[in-house]
């Protein structure tokens, strides 16, 4: 923190220099900024309402972070490659509903591993289609995935079904209830940490490994940084685009299955509109929407921050109606800070 990289900062006083140093360090480590926001929100909420510091609350936040986290990891990979995906919630809704329907009606005793695999494959197929379209149509991925989002969601509602599945398959039900850890609090109530948080942990590790330790990961950042240069260096744009969208679809498919298992309900109208807060979480975690940057740890912190904001407002007496306003302000602030960072570096 002692180094001040700005030449213009030289004549400042010592304290101003230290502030500039901390600022410069934060600019280079966006996840730290997210972490500070999380700590600040927690301290403020915890000071106003001590109910915040309960194990059950921590478990609730972790539980609510799993589906969001899986979505966000997919969005991270797409953003890192310079694209954007808004169709993943539609993919998740389609996969979760179609797979639940298939399992209930055709193979009621399918094990959960097979159900998850089916969700992953289904999601990856839809995602791969996104990738093919984005590459072949040479159009902004935002517009292409807005199109596929509508096609997928309305195909589901028109041709697959609109009725809720109240009795989900036994394997999914059991998977949703499976506890990793059960906490008995002093007042006698129990709260459980569901086992499916492990899936987020595994997915996070795999995503980190792909982005940081494999050739395709290098290719993703290279294409996101500058697609033209990356192509001249010999990276295959088509492969990268299909890969990132298929990977986002795969994670969305798994997230859909977990959503059903956790809620014990398959509702085809669920998840619609959630894509914006997920993109917000990834951007809050330091990924630039113009591509070439972003980290798994930042993304997870961004998800925790968004979940925190939507879960704890009620604890401090702020009506839940304010949730969107606060998330919107966070996005604008994060975008502003990172765009200033981009200009300085």
């Amino acid at each position: 923190m002692t180094e001040t990289t700005f030449s213009s900062a030289a004549p400042r006083s010592e304290s101003a220099g230290a502030v500039a140093g901390i600022w410069a360090w934060l600019m280079r480590h966006p996840p730290a900024f997210t972490l500070i926001l999380i700590v600040a929100v927690s301290l403020v909420v915890g000071a106003i309402n001590t109910d915040f510091w309960q194990v059950s609350n921590l478990f609730d936040i972790l539980r609510a972070s799993v589906v969001r986290g899986l979505f966000a990891l997919g969005v991270l990979v797409v953003l890192a490659s310079g694209g954007i995906d808004v169709s993943f919630t539609a993919i998740a809704a389609f996969v979760m509903y179609a797979v639940t329907m298939l399992v209930v009606n055709v193979v009621p005793d399918m094990p959960i591993v097979a159900i998850l695999a089916l969700g992953a494959v289904g999601g990856a197929c839809f995602g791969g289609l996104n990738g093919v379209l984005v590459h072949a149509l040479k159009a902004p991925s935002l517009i292409v995935t807005i199109g596929t989002q509508y096609v997928i969601r309305s195909f589901l509602l028109t041709f697959v079904g609109t009725a809720l599945f109240m009795n989900v398959p036994a394997a999914m039900d059991a998977f949703g209830k499976l506890a990793l850890f059960t906490h008995h609090s002093a007042n006698g109530s129990t709260s459980t940490l569901p086992a499916f948080v492990l899936i987020l942990a595994v997915a996070s590790f795999v995503t980190w490994w792909i982005l940081e330790r494999t050739l395709i990961g290098r290719a993703v950042y290279a294409v996101g940084g500058n697609a033209g240069v990356a192509e001249r260096l010999g990276y295959n744009l088509r492969t990268v685009r299909i890969f990132v969208f298929a990977y986002a679809g795969l994670l969305a498919g798994i997230a859909g299955i977990i959503h059903v298992s956790s809620n014990r309900l398959a509702n085809p109208f669920d998840l619609a509109g959630a894509e914006l807060e997920i993109i917000a979480a990834v951007v809050l975690g330091g990924a630039r929407i113009t591509g070439g940057s972003g980290s798994v740890i930042g993304t997870l912190l961004g998800v925790v921050l968004i979940t925190l904001v939507s879960n704890v407002l009620i604890l401090v007496g702020i009506p839940s109606t304010w949730q969107l306003v606060i998330v919107g302000i966070f996005i604008i602030l994060a975008g502003a800070i990172f765009s200033i960072r981009g200009r300085q570096s």
Partner: protein, 328 residues
Amino acid sequence: MAFQVDRQLSFLATVNVAAIVAGAVLVGASFVELYNFQSMASQVPELGFLALGVMLAMISGNGGIDLSGIALANLSGVAAYFFLRGAISADDAPLLFTWSLIGVALGVGLVGGMLNGFLIAKVGLTPIIATLGTQLLFTGLAIVLTNGSALSIGYVEPLDDFGNATILSVPQCFALFLVVALAIGAILRFTPFGQRLLLLGNNAKAARYAGIPEKRILFLTYAVCGLLASVAGIVIAARTSSVKWDYGSSYVLIAILIAVMAGVRPEGGYGRVICVVLSATSLQMLSSLFNFMNISNFFRDLAWGVLLLVFIATSGFDFRAWFRAVRS
């Protein structure tokens, strides 16, 4: 500077005519009655104004887009009614109430658009992130003001007339849409601002070296987008006699669809107002056709999604070259 009939324009005109013919054949005489045309025309403006905003944002280039349009439209209507309902009695002074409502809504739209413009032009946010953030912010504010429920305005004659009555057999709100569209077309074509906006979208670097005030143009463009959104909000309030935060949840897609169908280049630098108007009317006629034929809303959304993809696919495609290749 002469009026040109290009491929896109003739194509859209054909789609309009084809939709009318299809309606006459499939639905019958009731589709081609004056009443039905008036009914369809009065439904065009709310989306048309939003699509004009999307067009301007897209023309400005550098990933320009306005995702906050319908959110700002709803917020304008909600905020205007929320602040006026206690101040002015709609029963005692309907004309004053209507004009005040329009004034406050336009003010909210202008401020919202200026916020977008400030974030994009001055702070340097990418348009996607800026308008995504403000979309949540505007929607959130509308929820806060209404507590999440719809507010009914009730019958206020001048406002209702604007939404539903006709002038020379043309619905008033559609007439306003045509006038505004004409004005924007004239601005793009004949004023220095319009020329600079098109240049900026075509090649931002060249525009910068040519001394074009990039930031001021971007700021103004998004401010106008905000104004257009609030006009859409006024039309919605007039036509539905109510304001709510989640009206037109699929309008973000449809406004973009109208712009893309009109041949506006998402990369910036090109867009024609006449094509946006024709694109909006053809979508409305298809939508009414679906209604007459009792086709579900879900299927209609499916059709819009497919249309969007098809139009992106064909926008960069030269049909004449393809026909030549087929013939030879």
